[in-house]
Symmetry: C2
Subunit: 504 residues, 2 copies
Amino acid sequence: MAESWATLGVDLHVEPTGPRVRRGLTDALRDAVRTGRLAPGTRLPSSRVLATDLGIARNTVADAYADLVAEGWLTARQGSGTRVAARVPTSSGRSGAAALPAGTASHPRPRSRPAYDLLPGVPDLSSFPRAEWLKAARRALVAAPNEVFDYGDPRGRIELRTALAEYLARARGVHADPGRILICAGIAHGLQILGAVLRARGASTVAVESYGLDVHWRLLEGTGLRTVPLPFDELGTDPRQLTDQAAVLLTPAHQFPMGGTLHRDRRAAVVDWARRTGGLVVEDDYDGEFRYDRQPVGALQGLDPDHVVYAGTASKSLAPGLRLAWLVLPPGLVGEAARAKGGKDMCGVLDQLTLAQFLTSGAYDRHVRAARLRYRRRRDALVAEVARRAPQVHATGISAGLHVVLRLPPGTEQATLRAASWQDLSVHGLHRYRHPHAPLDPLDALVVGYGTPPDHAWSGALEALCAVLPEAEAEAGAGAGAGAETEAGAGETAGDAEGPVGPK
Amino acid sequence: MAESWATLGVDLHVEPTGPRVRRGLTDALRDAVRTGRLAPGTRLPSSRVLATDLGIARNTVADAYADLVAEGWLTARQGSGTRVAARVPTSSGRSGAAALPAGTASHPRPRSRPAYDLLPGVPDLSSFPRAEWLKAARRALVAAPNEVFDYGDPRGRIELRTALAEYLARARGVHADPGRILICAGIAHGLQILGAVLRARGASTVAVESYGLDVHWRLLEGTGLRTVPLPFDELGTDPRQLTDQAAVLLTPAHQFPMGGTLHRDRRAAVVDWARRTGGLVVEDDYDGEFRYDRQPVGALQGLDPDHVVYAGTASKSLAPGLRLAWLVLPPGLVGEAARAKGGKDMCGVLDQLTLAQFLTSGAYDRHVRAARLRYRRRRDALVAEVARRAPQVHATGISAGLHVVLRLPPGTEQATLRAASWQDLSVHGLHRYRHPHAPLDPLDALVVGYGTPPDHAWSGALEALCAVLPEAEAEAGAGAGAGAETEAGAGETAGDAEGPVGPK
């Protein structure tokens, strides 16, 4: 580093002109050390190299170094050259010396992780296919034309959009044309874009589900829109309350977090509403890859690609850290969305090309298939263990995705969450997913992300979970009317109720 | 692909229940082919695999395939299995069949490139260090803990922020603490974030330079802010007109596009204004790595890290396609900016980790050093050739960056641009960089990006450029008073005028 540092000549901001070169250099170096621009331990260039670099005499540099060694700012040792001292003198207080601001961490500190992590929304991060990804990255980078490194199409790389169009048609029944796909940095980013588009069109209100992600509601509200929750019952979200809202945000294939599938009559009703009013349906298909017990439910978008925005993501199938998601847009929305995105691509091209390579080579399918098998085993173990250990707790929403909802006896959610925190078990209560204006009574439940732990931590996490579940109490009448679905093959069919959900 | 496609079982959206399974499957397959969900040539799974997948009898699948072969939708050939026919029958028009919308390109079309490309703002894309980048990516990915794949700190990965803090202090004199760095997807993204922060604080106006990027002005205006241009003269942008604006956007180290350095008195005046009024200075240091003829000019941010936002980018030093840039924020702004970013990291972690590895390993310094040498040679050739071939044209802004400004005789810019387009030479006129309300007379000039062409195209591009430059005309009095800087060593010092710039 020392050599390049010196040869670059871009470091000291010394302008040692005039008669007092040595003094100028000494001051500049001292200042750089004191203010932290030169960190303790940094090796300085040799006096020869620095002298050449600055166009001054070598002895001048050597003298300046000697001064600073004497003052304690630098150290000089045979064989390891001149370095910034590990502990430098306290500043003599020259005015204008800037210290690092108090209260900002200057070194990374690992986030403290719970002993057991069953938070929903994250796949098993230890299963990211590092070797396969690197292989795909190499192939993609070797084959890429130079223009990929340029500012790109605001929709994202054509290679990825083309691969996604093929994949989404095949796997999710999406009517996807590469020209209508917009790559974005996560579904949240996609919602920011759509919110901005709707707001620019003069929209004021977006309908959302009574249960959902508050992050998404806040993002939409951040663009100036109001979110109003739709009723929710045993058939899923009820679109019959849709009136003049500009759009509705739904999770039709796998309601988040309740886990059900939107009933086919409701799917049709949503599309009817969109056609009748010109409203926009935003379909959040966050985990469409993971379905265990029956035929996959095709995307709602397939029913009417001109009124439905399909939103998918690599966050569950691969990893959130990739920050890659995609919108499939109705034709009339593409230009506006690209402009709302800032008129530029915002996702790194290398990951885009790598994911395209991953999709077209079959590596994506292989990874998803292996992950599905592992998650399904975990789900089976969880459902069986909960049925055995806590028969008053009912697992619902189990036929897809990476989480289940554990319905608790009424009034026990808070106590269960407290018990979990004593066990250092991270898990969410259902209440945090309930829209503040949801027209339904609160339910007591846990939302358990069984995809989250790495394999070695899974059985411990499951044990910790079972240990905190409330014990049977005769009067609690837990989840009255809910048929406990205790086996993988329990056979939910599209639109099946997965336990009562408390319509008001 | 056929096997995974089948084993995935996520493709057909057939729900072959009820008595007429064969009919249901046939319809579903036909529909998938007609609507394009199954592309011509796609190989279907074997009847055994699909039957297992759907839980129906193998003969039913075989019969459905046979029906569709007979109808012409599929083809069956010994040894290559059953495939979607290359040309499928014209649809018999079942209602609801969706066709791809007209007017959307369904296949990628390469952008047409000019024969000679001297547009400013892009480095030589052919010099992206692919092999080095892959090496760094492998190292980074092998060493990364699993948590990198999670949703991350909205500021970006700590590894990259730490590496940047060290680099920016060393190379640009920035007072950078990892806790105050925000990684973003380009400087444009950073400006969107800052615009949103300012707007949320109730700001209405941002001062900008009379010459600059209209994209940046529009992004700020897109957040609801007004941009007002400051006067510009031989010392650079004049901050004495700053009053109650919420912020000022500047390119102090290398004015874009004029190329000069902000005079030290003006630097001090900007900081004074910020301290006096609480205004924010946004320092766009887009190409701080590339300076050729003198000591680098340290970042303005070093003068007052509490009032200046420093914005840097990998777009010029590596490639725009990486979509990686960074803001160094005053302490009080970090939380607001992270929220304005959407509360989530939006840049892929793999590129972030790779760039961190690139910085700490010295590969970044080596790449920049080599690039600087190549660009400097190009600049020298350009300046010398223009002086020789078109002495009435004056090259200014030559001591840094990847572009020069060629001052033309008054009234000749439009004609020169027309001549360039006849030569299939892409180059910009200065007028497009002038703020519509700039308080100065228009100048005639070209903004020439000499970093843009790959090496093999450089001499041809230079020749094309010289061929379109206006010939000497006695009465034109080109650039009256401008000392032509024809050699690399011409010795601009900080704050030097680089030719008159037409103050009104």
